[in-house]
């Protein structure tokens, strides 16, 4: 119990006393959408997965992989942005090794040009290009004791569109404390704050982004779950960036004893979002709800999640993920 108390005090001190609601601009990483439908239906809770998608969350959680695990996740936003990830993890005598690839893509973006005439300017589409934003992760997990599990991930970021390419790298470190009914997860994502995304642009002139950089937001993620009979309760506090903007999440999962392969869950998220509306720039607390269902059929895991969306014509998003573990 002493370790748990110290852990809780550390979390309370570092999150609640040091966080703000400011929002800063930083590099867009594809894993912002969530690593799996399971994570999304729990409100974006990280570090509690039993599968290889832990590569994108807390690598320390890979200790739950029995021998081998693979997961695949896909969703489409606004019929335009396609998110996909695939991950593998394997347990060896040296520990658990994981590998994951995440990609966000948008096709058919118009490259525009203009013709200037005497009395007007004409704009037209010259060609169409694609946008790809990728993330490659390699993870390693080791368990020093029965209840303490440690993990580390290396991340490689790659972004390409039109004349622009961008690359960068960083490191995540995490720990999981497993006390059977009670689990704690702590993760520091993008630990190396000096590492940035660097852009190379073959375009010349003021519109070139050659040698420009973007920050990778450091994230501190503290998650907890507690199992009570048929229910598992989840909570998470995340701070993002040097401004330590605060993201909160709660999740509840129902896992009936008489149907052990079925999981029904709901999640709630709250986080600051900067937007410019009707002449006012403001950071607002955005709330998001998600519900979903999961099936574990002899190692084949199917997950579905539904969440509301801001978009005027696509008022919800659907998420699917599938995993195989044995």
């Amino acid at each position: 119990m002493t370790i748990q108390r110290i852990f809780l005090l550390l979390v309370i001190y570092s999150v609640l006393l040091c966080s703000t609601h400011a929002v800063e601009t930083s590099y867009f990483t594809p894993d912002l959408v969530g690593s799996s439908a399971r994570s999304i239906r729990l409100g974006g809770i990280e570090g509690m997965s039993s599968h290889s998608d832990s590569v994108f969350e807390n690598p320390a959680a890979l200790y739950r992989v029995k021998r081998f695990s693979t997961t695949f996740f896909q969703t489409t936003f606004m019929e335009e942005v396609v998110y996909q990830n695939i991950a593998f993890a394997m347990k060896t005598n040296l520990g658990v090794f994981g590998l994951g690839f995440f990609n966000a893509g948008v096709d058919n973006i118009p490259k525009t040009m203009k013709n200037e005439y005497e009395d007007y300017t004409e704009y037209y589409v010259k060609y169409y290009f694609n946008y790809q934003n990728s993330l490659l992760k390699a993870s390693y997990q080791v368990s020093p004791s029965e209840f303490l599990h440690l993990g580390i991930s290396g991340s490689y970021f790659y972004n390409e569109f039109d004349t622009v390419k961008a690359t960068g790298s960083n490191v995540d470190v995490g720990a999981v404390l497993d006390f059977e009914r009670l689990n704690f997860s702590i993760l520091v994502r993008n630990l190396m704050t000096s590492n940035e995304i660097r852009y190379v642009d073959s375009e010349i002139g003021s519109n070139s982004s050659n040698n420009q950089t973007e920050k990778l937001s450091i994230q501190n993620i503290y998650s907890v779950n507690y199992r009570l009979r048929h229910f598992t309760m989840y909570g998470q506090i995340k701070t993002v960036g040097s401004q330590r903007e605060l993201h909160k999440a709660l999740g509840l999962q129902f896992n009936p004893r008489f149907l052990p392969f079925l999981e029904i869950s709901g999640g709630y998220m709250q986080y600051p979002q900067l937007s410019y509306e009707e002449g006012v720039l403001a950071s607002k607390e955005k709330t998001s709800f998600a519900v979903g269902i999961g099936l574990d059929l002899w190692g084949l895991c199917l997950d579905y999640s539904y969440a509301r969306s801001d978009h005027v014509s696509f008022d919800h998003n659907n998420y699917f993920s599938v995993g195989l573990s044995f």
Binding site: T25, S26, Y27, F28, L32, V33, F77, M78, E80, V81, A104, V106, I109, P110, K111, T112, M113, K114, E116, E118, D119, Y120, T121, Y123, Y124, V125, Y131, N133, N159, F161, D162, V164, A166, Y199, D201, S206, N207, S208, S209, Q212, T213, E214, Q273, L274, S275, Y276, E277, E278, G279, V280, L281, K286, S309, D310, H311, V312, S313, F314, N317
Partner: protein, 208 residues
């Protein structure tokens, strides 16, 4: 005889000229002769001048030169000033721009909106220009979403005011737009919406 007739003609001409001057002085009307009739382009620029000094998120640009000539703001107070501009210049030349023709039978529509250049750097003075044509004056909203379908921008454009006038409209997105908020590099989706739903949409890419 010819002298008397000529004198009467000259007198009538002078009377007419005096009456014309008096009429012009009291009516504050802009003279437009057949030879130098104010073109729609020039009128467009003149109306933009009435908006000078307004701060805003988008800049109106001269369609001919693409140079910034004034700032606009869709806030109601500032739009009142812009509205007065229309009224003070209420001559037939301006009416050609405001359009006296009956547009009620015309369906509100927007040609495919384009952002130039695309991709673009928002962090510069030039930024990019959002270009679109309206079939008539009508009110609508522009929404911009990021790649997570989160709305980062929403603005209402009122019928007949800057950005919501019949014909070509040009809005600038640069480092002063969005209240100085610089968008993270990535793809953004803009949607034109009115009470009938989505009128037009497009996508743009922001570079760092």
């Amino acid at each position: 005889m010819y002298n008397v007739v000529g004198y009467k003609q000259q007198f009538n001409l002078k009377i007419r000229l005096v009456l014309l001057v008096v009429f012009i002085c009291f009516s504050n009307t802009v003279i437009v002769s057949a030879s130098d009739k104010l073109s729609g382009e020039a009128a467009f620029t003149r109306i933009q001048d009435f908006a000078s000094g307004l701060t805003g998120f988008f800049d109106v640009i001269n369609r001919k030169t693409d140079k910034k000539v004034a700032n606009i703001n869709a806030k109601s107070n500032n739009l009142v000033v812009l509205s007065m501009g229309f009224k003070q210049m209420g001559s037939q030349s301006i009416s050609t721009l405001v359009s006296e023709e009956d547009d009620s039978s015309v369906e509100p529509s927007i040609t495919v909106p384009l952002v130039y250049p695309n991709p673009f750097r928002q962090s510069t003075d030039d930024g990019a220009i959002l270009s679109y044509d309206l079939s008539k004056d009508f009110s609508f909203e522009i929404h911009i979403y990021n790649m997570l379908a989160e709305r980062v921008f929403k603005q209402t454009f009122e019928q007949g005011f800057v950005g919501a006038r019949k014909g070509p409209n040009r809005l600038r997105i640069n480092k002063e737009s969005l209240g100085g908020y610089l968008l993270a590099a990535g793809v953004y989706f803009y949607v034109f919406v009115n009470e009938n739903g989505v009128l037009a949409k497009g996508k743009m890419v922001v570079k760092p």
